[in-house]
Symmetry: C2
Subunit: 366 residues, 2 copies
DNA sequence: TTGTACGCGTTATCAG
DNA sequence: CTGATAACGCGTACAA
């Protein structure tokens, strides 16, 4: 049963069909230049031998692998998984396969991973976050490998980006809170080391707070991306450093933790504390209360990045940076600030019970 | 700035180092067989030219691409994303890159995707769910591409599987419910077409119900995997077809929807209805109430599948099927069945408020 | 329309 | 230890 026939080659097909190897190749790749009958003979022979062209030989000859790569922090985070999902879908439709490689949240390791990909022959690369390493940018250029960064916007002269403005998104979230009387806000951000998105968000936060003359000591906390980290961060800060009336989370996952912990501690959201997230994951609209959050266009980034790379590969079209919208979705986790230190009057229980019907009913975009 | 030097080859390095191409190759791949000084000259020359071996040429010569593939339903589902994440991590540590391809939930499309991967030169394949197509299995064998299926257990003579017993998991969940007096149970399952995991779970459910002489009309509902589908399914069935005292969901995502809808409808969990999930996602322990669910070992499946494939590739070791544990994690979403049609006595509100401290406090494995 | 000849870049083999 | 040579399998000028 186990025949070791070392996989058919064009030569085998040629022999069986009684033609030359060149003709086999033509019959398979440019059928129209081959006569009807030889084409049929060749196709039949190929089918009979289960022939398919050796990808390495083809790649060597054509200088094209039809493979692209994606380097992301992790697939464990829905936000990146969805990005890659969309990217991969589009790429696959365009005839490219996608190699996925994870690098953790510190972008310092990304160049090495990209090198690895390129050494394996990928023709284009999707990245998350900007790389501030001129040598690396230069490397990509001279290797002629188109690359797109997502989740942030382009600094000058670096890798083109298809993303959104993290600072602006943050400012809109803060303004939303400010309009409701929140001046003292706690920021929970994700890992900062080598993570330009988080750094940008924090910078926006600190800038805004400074402008308002608001002190920021003990108001910026770095967490891992996990529900538990959000729980812990909220608990520690609520118990030891009260005073803030709102929590701004750089990830919905953290916000989930905050809300869960609030329930456990008997802290009411938004009556005692308002909570804002960042991502707009599927579950965020179903939290109790539904989460006000920044809707990050992860699928769109993936799709557009794929489009751009494919067009570059096919027609040499330059990849242009693009800034997408990341609207604030206002739901029920944010409300008017209570007077600091003094719990607000309870507005009567059961916002949940009164909340029948479509979840999206009470949403608003900003 | 844009020098078009068409990427250095061994020949270029050889010329610069004043040696032959063969020596360059040796200096790079088996440094120990080359004299100290020539090695250094070669390495220096290679570094100066930014040389790295052409992957297609290497793959052609060595008959090895160092690339493997994974075909999964979608990356949009945390459960598969985590599987691939673990698989890819391990593979990458072993020197292999991973191409990810999605195929939707109907396994009918999988063979085609795998073919695509193999036509691109992958050396091994990770699958989700069994493929019942002898021709396909034969194809994999004669192409000598090791494959592993996950999420289910091996039927005889098919592709080796590293998974868990879906039927058994389902029976344990049902037994847990039965012990608490639940006889009339609603099953929400995911897409069934071409999805052997879901089919197995449903089969177990139907079998058990039959054995108990319990009617199953209107007790099996097929849903998409989304929170909203869970909400809708529960709403429709609760309003129109009361009678069941528990809902068994084939995915935590559906259970999330059920619990969210219960809150909206004022239905108490577990007093009025018990809810069981399947997956044990990160958020499931934080739902209100925390979700009783089957813990699917997705990371372990990914890791072990990678190990098995690597060992097959490296040492020709046969891949053995393996059945992993998928324990039922008992939390607070399941309780004693109320008398059908009559809401249970309320046991006093605020299980949440009393639920301080570690989330895992009240867990139990079965 | 088809066949012949060669090269893509690397590495295994064999001789030196 | 090193160099010459051939071959991996395909695709494409070029010639017929």
């Amino acid at each position: 049963m186990l025949d070791l026939k070392p996989k058919a080659t064009v030569a085998d097909v040629a022999r069986l069909a009684g033609v030359s190897a060149a003709t086999v190749s033509r019959a398979l790749t440019t059928p129209e230049v081959v006569s009807e009958q030889t084409r049929e003979r060749v196709l039949a022979a190929a089918a009979r031998l289960g022939f398919s062209p050796n990808p390495a030989a083809r790649a060597l000859r054509r200088q094209k692998s039809m493979i692209v790569g994606a380097v992301i922090p992790t697939l464990g985070s829905a936000i990146y998984a969805r990005l890659v999902n969309a990217f991969q879908d589009w790429m696959s439709a365009a005839g490219y396969l996608t190699i996925v490689l994870t690098s953790g949240f510190d972008n310092g390791g990304v160049p090495e991973k990209v090198r690895l990909l390129i050494d394996h022959g990928v023709e284009g690369v999707l990245l998350v976050g900007q790389i501030h390493d001129p040598e690396f940018v230069w490397f990509l250029q001279q290797r002629r490998v188109p690359a797109v960064t997502t989740y942030s916007i382009a600094d000058e002269l670096l890798i083109p980006s298809i993303g959104f403005d993290n600072q602006d998104a943050m400012l809109r979230a803060l303004q939303h809170l400010a309009e409701r009387g929140h001046r003292d806000v706690l920021l929970l951000c994700g890992p900062l080391a080598g993570n330009d998105r988080q750094v940008a968000r924090r910078a926006a936060f600190i800038g805004a707070m400074r402008r308002q003359g608001q002190p920021i000591e003990n108001r910026v906390v770095e967490c891992e991306y996990s529900i538990e980290a959000g729980e812990r961060a909220f608990r520690d800060n609520w118990l030891h450093a009260r005073g803030f009336t709102a929590v701004l989370c750089c990830s919905d996952v953290l916000a989930f933790g905050v809300i869960a912990e609030c329930q456990r501690l008997g802290v009411r959201v938004p009556d005692d504390v308002s909570v804002v997230g960042f991502d707009d994951l599927e579950f965020s609209a179903r939290l109790n209360p539904p989460l006000t959050t920044i809707a990050v266009p992860s699928e769109e980034m993936g799709r557009r990045a794929a489009e751009a790379i494919v067009e570059n590969l096919r027609q040499g079209r330059e990849i242009l940076s693009l800034t997408l919208e990341a609207p604030l979705i206002v739901r029920q986790s944010t409300g008017v600030a209570r007077v600091t230190g003094k719990p607000a009057e309870s507005k009567g229980k059961a916002p949940a019970a009164s909340d029948k019907g479509s979840v999206r009913r009470k949403e608003r975009q900003v």
